[in-house]
C-alpha cells in the first residue's frame, strides 16, 4: 500500500539539511513551473504531489506530499502517457518540451544547491582548513595540559626545594601568595551562578540549599544538652586509691590511674616559679641561669681549693730540690766573676752558665 507522509518544510530538524535543500529547490522550480502554467502541477512521473499555497503572490508555506510508488505504478504512467498521446500532437510536443525543460530546470536547481555549490577543489581545501584548525586546537590543549602538569611537578634540586625545606621564605617568592582583595569575584576556581542557586568549585557544580537552623531551634538544643549533660570542671586530681579531702566536692575530683603513661598527680614544680618562667621575656631562663650559677660556684670553689694547696710545701718533697754544696759554691764563684767583668765578656753563654759547667776533671785542672 502506498503510504503518504507529509513532510513539513517548516520543521527542518526532521530532515537532513541536504535533503531539505533538495526539496526547497524542487519547490522553487515547481513554483516557477506553476507560474508558467498558472495552475497546480502534477508530475505523475516523479510521483510527487505538490500543493502550494499562495499568500500575496509569495509562497509562505509549502507542503510536500511524498507518495510511495507501487509496483503497478508503471501501468498507471503508461495509461497517462496514452492519454497524452491521444491528444493533439502539438500539445504532445509542447509537453515533451515542457518535460525537457523540467528536467533541465531540475538539473539546474540541483546544481544550485548550496550544499553542492562548493566546487570540488574548494571543498577539499575547506576541509583541510577545518581539519588544520581542529588539530591546532587539540595541540594547544595538549600542550597546555602538559605545561600545567609540568609546573606542578617539582624538579629535584630547584629553588622550590629550598622553599619547601624552609630555608627560603616562600611568601616572598610567590609560591604562597596572599589572597587578592582588589579583584572582586576574580577567583577562577569559584563561580556562583547569577541566581545564587548553584556554585561551581574546582570544575564541579553544586546545588545550594539554604540552612534551616533558627535561633529557636538552637535554644531548644541548648536546653536539651543542659538537661542531659551535668558536668563540673575537675579541680582536684587524685590518684586512684587516695582519700578524698573533706572540703572537696566529689564531683570535682578527677581520678588518675597510677600507671598512666603521661599523666601524673605529683606536682614537683613550684607553681609560682612556673608562672614566673612563663612570663619571662628577656634574659636567661631560670633553670639555665641556676645551673650556670651553680657551676660557677663549683668552679670557684675548686679554684680556691687549688690555691690553698699550692701555698703548703711538703718537707719530704723539698729534698728533691736540693743541690750538692760543691757545685753550688763553684757556681757562686763563677757568678761573681761574671758580675765583675760585665762588659768585657759577652753575655753569659750557656757554657759559662754555672749550672751548665761541668767541673773539669782533676787531671786537666792540675797538669
Amino acid at each position: 500500500m502506498a503510504s503518504i507522509a507529509a513532510v513539513p518544510v517548516r520543521s527542518p530538524s526532521f530532515l537532513p539539511l541536504c535533503f531539505l535543500f533538495l526539496i526547497w529547490n524542487f519547490s522553487h522550480s515547481l513554483t516557477k513551473l506553476r507560474n508558467f502554467r498558472n495552475g497546480l502541477q502534477f508530475w505523475p512521473e516523479l510521483g510527487l504531489d505538490c500543493t502550494c499555497k499562495y499568500s500575496n503572490g509569495r509562497v509562505t508555506y509549502r507542503k510536500f506530499v511524498v507518495k510511495a510508488m507501487e509496483s503497478d505504478v508503471d501501468s498507471g504512467l503508461r495509461n497517462d502517457a496514452v492519454v497524452i498521446k491521444s491528444s493533439e500532437k502539438d500539445y504532445a510536443e509542447r509537453q515533451q518540451k515542457l518535460h525537457q525543460n523540467i528536467v533541465a530546470k531540475l538539473h539546474e536547481s540541483v546544481g544550485s544547491l548550496p550544499v553542492f555549490a562548493f566546487p570540488i577543489g574548494k571543498l577539499s581545501g575547506m576541509n583541510f582548513t577545518i581539519g588544520l584548525c581542529i588539530v591546532a586546537t587539540m595541540l594547544v590543549v595538549v600542550v597546555k595540559g602538559y605545561a600545567a602538569k609540568g609546573s606542578s611537578d617539582r624538579r629535584p634540586g630547584s629553588v622550590a626545594d629550598l622553599v619547601r625545606r624552609g630555608q627560603l621564605r616562600s611568601d616572598r617568592r610567590g609560591i604562597s601568595t596572599p589572597l587578592k582583595y582588589e579583584d572582586p569575584f576574580n577567583n577562577p576556581m569559584v563561580k556562583v551562578s547569577k541566581s545564587n542557586s548553584t556554585v561551581e568549585m574546582c570544575g564541579k557544580v553544586y546545588r545550594l540549599a539554604p540552612v534551616t537552623l533558627t535561633d529557636e531551634l538552637q535554644t531548644v538544643h541548648q536546653k536539651r544538652r543542659s538537661r542531659a549533660y551535668q558536668w563540673k570542671r575537675p579541680t582536684v586530681f587524685l590518684k586512684e586509691g587516695d582519700p578524698i579531702p573533706s572540703d572537696v566536692d566529689p564531683d570535682t575530683v578527677r581520678w588518675i590511674p597510677a600507671n598512666h603513661p603521661f599523666a601524673t598527680t605529683a606536682s614537683d614544680i613550684d607553681e609560682g616559679l612556673a608562672q614566673t618562667n612563663v612570663y619571662q621575656k628577656h634574659g636567661v631562663p631560670f633553670r639555665i641561669q641556676a645551673e650556670h650559677e651553680a657551676l660557677q660556684r663549683k668552679l670557684e670553689a675548686l679554684q680556691n681549693d687549688q690555691k690553698l694547696g699550692k701555698l703548703v710545701i711538703d718537707p719530704a718533697s723539698a729534698r728533691d730540690f736540693e743541690r750538692p754544696l760543691k757545685s753550688h759554691m763553684k757556681s757562686e764563684n763563677q757568678v761573681e766573676h761574671n758580675i765583675s767583668t760585665p762588659k768585657s765578656g759577652s753575655s753569659a753563654s750557656p757554657s759559662d752558665h754555672p749550672s751548665g759547667n761541668k767541673p773539669l776533671p782533676e787531671e786537666l785542672q792540675n797538669p
Binding site: 587539540m138 594547544v140 590543549v141 619547601r164 624552609g166 627560603l168 621564605r169 609560591i175 604562597s176 596572599p178 589572597l179 569575584f185 576556581m189 569559584v190 556562583v192 547569577k194 545564587n196 542557586s197 568549585m201 574546582c202 564541579k204 557544580v205 553544586y206 545550594l208 540549599a209 540552612v211 534551616t212 537552623l213 531551634l217 538544643h221 541548648q222 544538652r225 543542659s226 549533660y229 551535668q230 558536668w231 570542671r233 575537675p234 578527677r254 588518675i256 603513661p261 603521661f262 599523666a263 601524673t264 598527680t265 606536682s267 614537683d268 614544680i269 616559679l273 612556673a274 608562672q275 618562667n277 612563663v278 612570663y279 619571662q280 621575656k281 628577656h282 631562663p285 633553670r287 639555665i288
Partner: protein, 316 residues
C-alpha cells in the same frame, strides 16, 4: 551584634519566558555568606581570640582543621598561634612540616629551661604563624595545673612585646579526659569538628554539652569528610541533617579530598596548594567566617552534572 555587609545586592530571580511558565516565579534569598573572596575579612571580637578545636571522637580532622585554618588566617593577614594541647600524642607539627624545628615545649618553659619565645616555632612560609607544642612524647605533665599553665601561656602571649596574636588556636586531644579539660580552659570559643556519621555525632553532642557547661557558648561546627555523591545516594547524612541533630551553626563544610593525605605526607597544608584543592577552598572559607564570626547560610547539597558547551571538548 555584628552587621554583615552583603556582597551582592539582594536580587529577586524572575522568569521572563517566551511561553507562559507553569511554575510560579521563585525569589531566592541572597546567599551572601557562601563565598567570600572579594574582600579581606574584618576581624570581629576581642583579640586575641582563643579558639579551641575539638571533636570528642578521634580521627575526624581536628589537627588537619587546626593546621589549615591557622595557615589560612596567616594568609588572610592575621597573626595566629597554634597550640598543640595533646600532651602525649603530638601531631600538629607533622602536619605543618615543622617536626624538625620543635626543640622546646611548654614543659621546658615551665621548668625554666627556655623562655616562651624560644619555644614558639615560627613558620618560615608565613612568618605570622607560630606553633607551640605542650610537651614532647613520653614526658609527664602534672595535671594539677595543666589548665593553669595554658591560662598563663595565653596571658603571656597577650603581653608579649611584638603584640598579642589575633588568634590562638588550641588543638584539643580526643576524648573528654584531662587533656580535653586542659585544652578548653583558656578558650572563649569552640569549633566542633564532626563527620556525618552517627558515632561522631553522638560524641560531638556530648562534647558540646560539656563545653556549654564550662561556659563556652560560642560553638560552631565544621562538618568534615563530606561526600556529596553518598549524600545524593542517601548513604550518608546530609549536612542539614547533621545540623538538625546537633543544632549548631555551620562554620564550614569540608568535602572528602584525597589531597588531605598527600598534604599530610608532605607536611604542606593543602590551603597552600596551587591550584587550590576543593577541601582547601572550603578551609579558606571557614577561616573567613571564623574571622568575621559568621556562619554558613547555605550548603552545597549535591553535585549537578556540568552542562558542557561546544568548546568543553577542548577543556573549556
Amino acid at each position: 551584634m555584628i552587621s554583615i555587609h552583603t556582597i551582592t545586592k539582594p536580587s529577586t530571580f524572575q522568569f521572563h519566558p517566551k511561553r507562559p511558565s507553569r511554575k510560579p516565579p521563585k525569589t531566592l534569598a541572597p546567599i551572601h555568606a557562601l563565598l567570600q573572596y572579594n574582600r579581606k575579612p574584618q576581624l570581629a571580637g576581642d583579640t586575641p581570640r582563643v579558639v579551641v578545636i575539638t571533636s570528642g571522637k578521634g580521627g575526624v580532622g581536628k589537627t588537619t582543621t587546626t593546621a589549615n585554618i591557622g595557615l589560612s588566617l596567616a594568609r588572610l593577614g592575621f597573626s595566629a598561634v597554634a597550640i598543640d594541647a595533646d600532651v602525649g600524642l603530638r601531631n600538629l607539627d607533622l602536619l605543618l612540616g615543622l617536626e624538625n624545628r620543635v626543640n622546646y615545649t611548654v614543659v621546658e618553659v615551665l621548668n625554666g629551661d627556655c623562655r616562651l619565645d624560644q619555644a614558639l616555632v615560627r613558620d618560615k612560609r608565613w612568618s605570622n604563624f607560630e606553633l607551640l607544642c605542650i610537651s614532647k612524647p613520653r614526658s609527664k605533665l602534672p595535671l594539677g595545673f595543666g589548665g593553669k599553665a595554658l591560662i598563663w601561656l595565653v596571658d603571656a602571649l597577650k603581653n608579649r612585646e611584638e603584640g598579642p596574636p589575633d588568634f590562638i588556636l588550641i588543638d584539643c586531644p580526643a576524648g573528654i579526659d584531662a587533656g580535653f579539660i586542659t585544652a578548653i580552659t583558656p578558650a572563649n570559643e569552640a569549633v566542633l569538628v564532626t563527620t556525618p556519621d552517627i558515632t561522631s555525632l553522638r560524641d560531638a553532642d556530648r562534647v558540646t554539652g560539656l563545653l556549654e557547661c564550662d561556659g563556652i557558648r560560642d560553638i560552631k561546627m565544621i562538618v568534615n569528610r563530606v561526600r556529596t555523591d553518598m549524600i545524593k545516594g542517601e548513604d550518608m547524612m546530609s549536612v542539614l541533617d547533621v545540623q538538625e541533630m546537633l543544632g549548631l551553626p555551620l562554620l564550614g563544610v569540608i568535602p572528602e579530598d584525597t589531597e588531605v593525605i598527600r598534604s599530610t605526607n608532605r607536611g604542606y597544608p593543602l590551603v597552600l596548594n596551587k591550584p587550590p584543592a576543593l577541601a582547601g577552598l572550603a578551609f579558606e572559607q571557614a577561616a573567613w567566617r571564623l574571622v568575621e564570626q559568621d556562619s554558613m547560610k547555605a550548603v552545597m547539597v549535591e553535585e549537578e552534572p556540568k552542562k558542557r558547551g561546544f568548546f568543553s571538548f577542548f577543556g573549556g
